[in-house]
Amino acid sequence: EPEVTQTPSHQVTQMGQEVILRCVPISNHLYFYWYRQILGQKVEFLVSFYNNEISEKSEIFDDQFSVERPDGSNFTLKIRSTKLEDSAMYFCASRELYEQYFGPGTRLTVT
């Protein structure tokens, strides 16, 4: 069964460094998303992406964040200058019709 994959599973970085989180959505899906989940809190929407542009973003998704689909299979989330409060699980999701399917997540730890 096709699934969303994410790499790395765990990323440790120092405050102020740039990180890129990578996702491979399900191959025939056209809508892509990033969510985050701070430990012990709810899953929060960050951004949605369709047709090579952002279609919706939350107030969390500020100028430090960017997304890109650099080729036909990858979808990335870049955090330019990480802060301690960026430590969280980051989930990529994709959909074809209505249902969003989530990847296993990347645990980002900012020290």
């Binding site: 809508y31 998303y33 899953v43 989930f91 249902e99």
Partner: protein
């Protein structure tokens, strides 16, 4: 008022029991209703998806939506220890973002 309210639990029930999980939501514009299951340190896994009031059944799982009361439920029949997880209700309006509840931690006791 929070957009989606969900009792975080934990909820402990004996194996074989019927489990009832519930959420309320505040905005009548929400049109799509989902239940996800999340195991510890894993991504949310879609269990049920519905967009109308009424019941939708899939195996041991039944999702129920009451739009007039803004109330959604998930029932699990013949619960198994492997059902132990956090269950997230989720809703979506005409825009493309999903709003999640905080999740209910469920423990099925063997």
């Amino acid at each position: 008022q929070k957009e989606v309210e969900q009792d975080p639990g934990p909820l402990s029930v004996p194996e074989g029991a019927i489990v009832s999980l519930n959420c309320t939501y505040s905005n009548s514009a929400f049109q799509y209703f989902m239940w996800y299951r999340q195991y510890s340190r894993k991504g949310p896994e879609l269990l049920m998806y519905t967009y109308s009031s009424g019941n939708k059944e899939d195996g041991r799982f039944t999702a129920q939506v009451d739009k007039s009361s803004k109330y959604i439920s998930l029932f699990i029949r013949d619960s198994q220890p492997s059902d132990s997880a956090t269950y997230l209700c989720a809703i979506r309006g005409v825009d493309d973002k999903i709003i999640f509840g905080k999740g209910t931690r469920l423990h099925i006791l063997p």
